[in-house]
């Protein structure tokens, strides 16, 4: 028997596309607008996410990020204003969290374990976020051989851009979810299921958010064994530079998604004091499930 197709509720549109290495979902609802207008608004919002995907993909050789990683050691590289802004935000969070959030830590380790494509030049093992120099006029230079990966913040930034695009089109009720980095806008509260750290497919924790953003970091789903059979995770501790395994999940609630995304690393890797202060500065809260 055929079950009914999703009855398209009037004035509601919910779509998803494969972007930023995950499924990005955009849902809007507004009684004042037609279905066509909502679809057009959602398409515009996806265009914003696609732009971030093109500019900041670590994997695509032609992205701004790849150009910076290839050339910024030898010369200043001019990037798109959005790429520059994400670098700025990333370095601000590195400073605020005293390096717990560091866009340079993941690439060398993840490359060696097969998460990210490897690059020919060796990274300087002593280098970190402080070796990324923002020269103004959207130019970036590296002082030492580092390789930046904006994965810990670009998804949140893309979610924020999409939410802003929808707000600019006067859409009342908005949800954008990029594989767990999500933000809602409007007067309604939205239920969110936080995955259970150990049994992500069977159990979850529910919470409700209204007009806020949320991001979760946890090693499940991304765990795998490396070549020498050590267990690996896509999270990397910036201090000992080893993959982080001994956590459940960390969820941060903040007013914007880029901050929520970056602050998960503060809670995971910073001292309690630094984590508390970083959250307070951003008006954010965290929930740790162990």
């Amino acid at each position: 028997m055929l079950s009914p197709l999703p009855t398209p509720e009037p004035h509601t549109v919910r779509r998803a596309r494969p972007l930023l290495g995950t499924l990005v979902e955009i849902a809007v609802s507004d009684d004042r607008h037609s279905q066509e207008k909502l679809h057009a608004a959602v398409s515009d919002a996806f265009a914003e996410v696609e732009r971030v995907h093109r500019l900041m993909s670590f994997h695509e050789a032609t992205s701004d990020l790849s150009l910076v990683n290839r050339h910024a050691l030898s010369r200043p590289v001019r990037v798109h204003a959005d790429t520059y802004k994400v670098f700025e935000m990333a370095l601000n969070f590195s400073w605020l969290t005293q390096g717990a959030f560091d866009p340079t830590v993941a690439a060398p380790i993840l490359e060696s374990s097969g998460y990210l494509p490897s690059c020919r030049t060796q990274c300087d093992p002593g280098a970190d976020w402080r070796d990324i120099e923002l020269l103004g006029d959207t130019c970036i230079r590296y002082r030492r051989a580092v390789r930046a990966d904006l994965g810990g913040i670009a998804k949140g930034f893309a979610v924020d851009l999409a939410v802003c695009a929808l707000a600019a089109r006067d859409i009342e009720d908005v949800l954008v979810n990029a594989g767990g980095d999500l933000r809602v806008a409007g007067p309604r509260s939205h239920g969110v299921r936080l995955r259970h750290p150990v049994e992500p497919l069977e159990k979850a924790y529910f919470l409700e958010i209204k007009g806020r953003a949320l991001a979760t970091s946890a090693p499940y789903f991304s765990r795998r064994k490396d070549a020498s059979n050590r267990e690996m995770s896509a999270l990397v501790d910036p201090v000992n530079r080893m993959p982080e395994l001994d956590v459940g999940s960390v969820t941060v609630l903040a007013s914007d998604c880029a901050s929520a995304d970056a602050l998960t690393k503060a809670v995971l890797f910073a001292s309690r004091e630094v984590a508390e202060r970083s959250l307070a500065v951003c008006g954010a809260e965290a929930c740790v499930i162990k």
Binding site: S3, A16, G21, G180, L201, L214, F221, C287
Partner: protein
């Protein structure tokens, strides 16, 4: 000493509730056709690949080809495809619009369905999902279906699109 903490710690046992597997229908095939090719008429194409063509596609795309997986339509200006891919934990059907030159113009997810454990490898379970709209699509906006804490991979969709483009090149563009 007490201080105002912004970090709440919770134990798994205290917070967990059992949940049904996540399943979402974003749009039907017809809705995707309308969205991607508004006002155009679409004619179904039959895609029967010869053994040689399958070998060429697999070599070109680096992904295995399963017979009958892909459905194709010719629009007035371009092509429309529906395909399904199986991940480690999930099954995703998606639609792709190509323009008349065979370039990807738009990708939309049609359905996303998550499975427990090995369920996704069970052909019975898959049969209820692929092709037709069986199963129990969750009504949009009625249930809590927003998930955090899992970066769902779209690797298989990316692979599927690569395969689809190779099939287009071998069986449609050069036919």
């Amino acid at each position: 000493m007490r201080f105002d903490s912004r970090i709440a710690y919770m134990s798994i046992a205290a917070v967990a509730v059992c949940v049904p597997a996540h399943a979402l229908v974003y749009m039907s095939v017809e809705q995707a056709q309308q969205l991607m090719f508004p006002g155009q008429s679409l004619a179904a194409l039959s895609l029967r690949l010869s053994a040689d063509q399958i070998a060429a596609v697999e070599k070109d795309a680096g992904v295995k080809v399963y017979p009958g997986g892909l459905r194709a339509w010719k629009a007035d200006q371009g092509y429309f495809f529906v395909d399904a891919v199986i991940g480690k934990h999930d099954l995703i059907t998606y639609a792709v619009a190509l323009d008349a030159d065979g370039k990807v113009r738009q990708v939309e997810i049609l359905e996303y369905r998550e499975a427990y454990g090995g369920e996704v490898r069970n052909s019975h379970w898959r049969a209820q999902f692929t092709g037709r709209h069986h199963g129990d699509p969750v009504r949009i906006g009625k249930d809590i279906q927003n998930i955090s804490g899992a970066t769902l991979s779209c690797e298989h969709v990316t692979e599927g699109i690569r395969r689809l483009l190779a099939i287009y090149a071998v069986a449609i563009a050069n036919a």
